[in-house]
Point group: C2
Chain length 356, copies 2
């Protein structure tokens, strides 16, 4: 049985997108490849509102989270910790021997500008790592407020993990002054796993040049040198880049604004279902994610049982992450998810909820 994914990645990928990824392989040093690679760049720049370099990394998002640390943190790094994935970034900093200030809140809370600024004021840090949308808790951080504050620290490189928001939520990279933004393709892009899209500013490249031990596979400078020729230093994930081109054409056909509006509408519908069925939202009010709903298990239902039964019916939703396993549950509504898809899933959730 085909099970439809309503988990926060990998997401459901449309059959025609899977077929676009299943095109015959081409070599990565032929003009056809450069053409394909190049065809993705301008649409991505338009989507992200940026003139920065777009680099395509063959890895999942964690790889470019690490790349950012190795390429952008010289004096020290402030890492915003609000859940499993942002916590992982702190771990990455430590495992790369970087001086790390932990800007940490309890799960469900958002990071506020002043929490980061407290560390920046010391002058000891030259890099900030912010997860925009924390997939484990469903919290979306106030990126506008944080970006405003960051403008007072022009020497600090501002890195944003937009893994579960990019392509589902509008993020104006240049207006916000984001130096590095990254997202894997298996979330709101509606593609398989294996490629991470990033936009890198001149400031980030300048910083990278000052760091001799930034490594090779994730070296921003080497990636840019090849990116300038619409290539990559190592063999890229040609198949997903083919799918990315296909998806970007679809995005522009839908219209980016319409796409974001669709995501906002899906969120509204999901929240309403939660309210109607007596569930609260896990995140702090005003900081709830648009691409996935993390609900509080206020009714104390047996979440793992419910999730299992949903799966048996062909709909995959998520338990709470890690220690939240039974205290929360998550429904993702991103990428190519339509209102009908979501309503179908919510309908089955209602049915199975009654039987718990």
């Amino acid at each position: 049985m085909h099970k439809k994914l309503f988990i926060p990645g990998p997401v459901e990928v449309k059959p025609e997108v899977l077929q676009a990824c299943a095109a015959p392989l081409i070599g990565h040093r032929v003009p056809e490849y450069a053409e394909l690679h190049g065809a993705c760049i301008e649409p991505l720049r338009r989507m992200l509102g940026t003139k920065n370099d777009i680099l395509l990394f063959t890895c999942s998002s964690t790889g470019v989270m690490e790349a950012s640390v190795r390429n952008c943190a010289k004096k020290g790094v402030v890492v915003c910790m609000l859940g499993a994935f942002s916590d992982r970034w702190a771990q990455i900093c430590l495992q790369n021997g970087k001086k790390t200030a932990k800007c940490q809140v309890e799960w469900g809370k958002a990071i506020r500008a002043e929490m980061i600024e407290k560390h920046l004021k010391t002058g000891e840090y030259d890099c900030v790592l912010l997860v925009h949308n924390e997939t484990s808790t469903g919290v979306m951080n106030p990126i506008e407020e944080i970006a405003d504050m960051m403008k007072r620290y022009p020497d600090v490189v501002f890195v944003v993990d937009a893994v579960s928001s990019m392509a589902g939520v509008k993020i104006d990279v240049d207006r916000l002054g984001i130096d590095v933004i990254l997202a894997g393709t298996q979330k709101a892009f509606g593609l398989p796993v294996g490629l991470t899209v990033s936009a890198i500013s001149p400031k980030a490249f300048a910083r990278a040049k000052e760091l001799p031990d930034r490594g090779y596979y994730f070296d921003f400078i080497e990636m840019k040198a090849f990116g300038d020729k619409n290539q990559t230093p190592s063999t890229p994930n040609v198949s997903i880049i083919g799918g990315l081109k296909f998806q970007l054409e679809r995005f522009e056909k839908e219209g980016f604004e319409n796409r974001y509006r669709r995501h906002a509408n899906l969120k509204e519908t999901c929240w309403n279902w939660m309210k109607e069925h007596g569930f609260g939202l896990f995140p702090e009010k005003g900081f709830e994610s648009v691409t996935l709903t993390c609900a509080s298990n206020t009714r104390k239902v047996d979440v793992p049982k419910w999730v299992k039964r949903m799966s048996d019916r062909g709909f995959v939703i998520s338990e709470g992450y890690g220690r939240l396993k039974n205290d929360a549950f998550r429904v993702a509504h991103m990428a190519d998810c339509t209102m009908d898809d979501l309503k179908e899933c919510l309908g089955v959730m209602s049915e199975e909820l009654k039987k718990l």
Copy 2:
């Protein structure tokens, strides 16, 4: 027009393999994923003749070349340099701040055991990096001879890049005492780009534990902790892992020995064509690759023109690599390439050669 690939990666991928990779996505924290992941492990162990841990990295081969450096080189590393890809490994060592001894020969020559041993005798190095099959020159290093020598240095971690040989040439990992072996899926596995298969020995894991700055995405220890549960720390390339399972079943149906024999026969046929048409082989005699033929342009034909015309006919072969552009050309015959496929390509090469 679909162009058939006879380049040393990406290689031609069979339509049914592309379809296996185009299966609907599944989550990576569900039992179905662990089952899929687990289904690849024992066949890979059988293929490689090893009891070591099999780790699946979501990246192209260069990523795990870097991983090996960060996880295995403590005192210093001896890197065997005989062409573009092995030279890259030296670059990776330097960009990760490792003390590096260059064991270098001119392009076309092979690395011999005594060249490596000269460095090991100093006692200053605890890691050897050997490219088995150098894709840029078509040289296959004498791995048996080198492995025999390595047995005299039990504290040295022996890392082999088998990128363009694994699954096409028999490599008995445990008998040879290889601590880390790696290969991307887009070569003799006959799969798309985006996954790197590796087998890691207890000695390599022990070394990794001594290295605090081995990073995160490519951390052998973290990968093993999740690998023990048939999972990966970050989202894996589920689609290619699905294709890998499909291919491994096909390999076992063909029989590994038959598969290796097929590769040896393809090589013979390709060499004979070269001889008949007055071309020499670029590699030193006795060290020619089995999976790709690198021919010397002894007839001084216009290689780029020939390659272009072949492409126009729907057959992609390679010029010489880098500075060998016009002095050599390469025809790969690996993965699912049949004798008929190769003969068809060689036939068109004959036709186009006459017209040059």
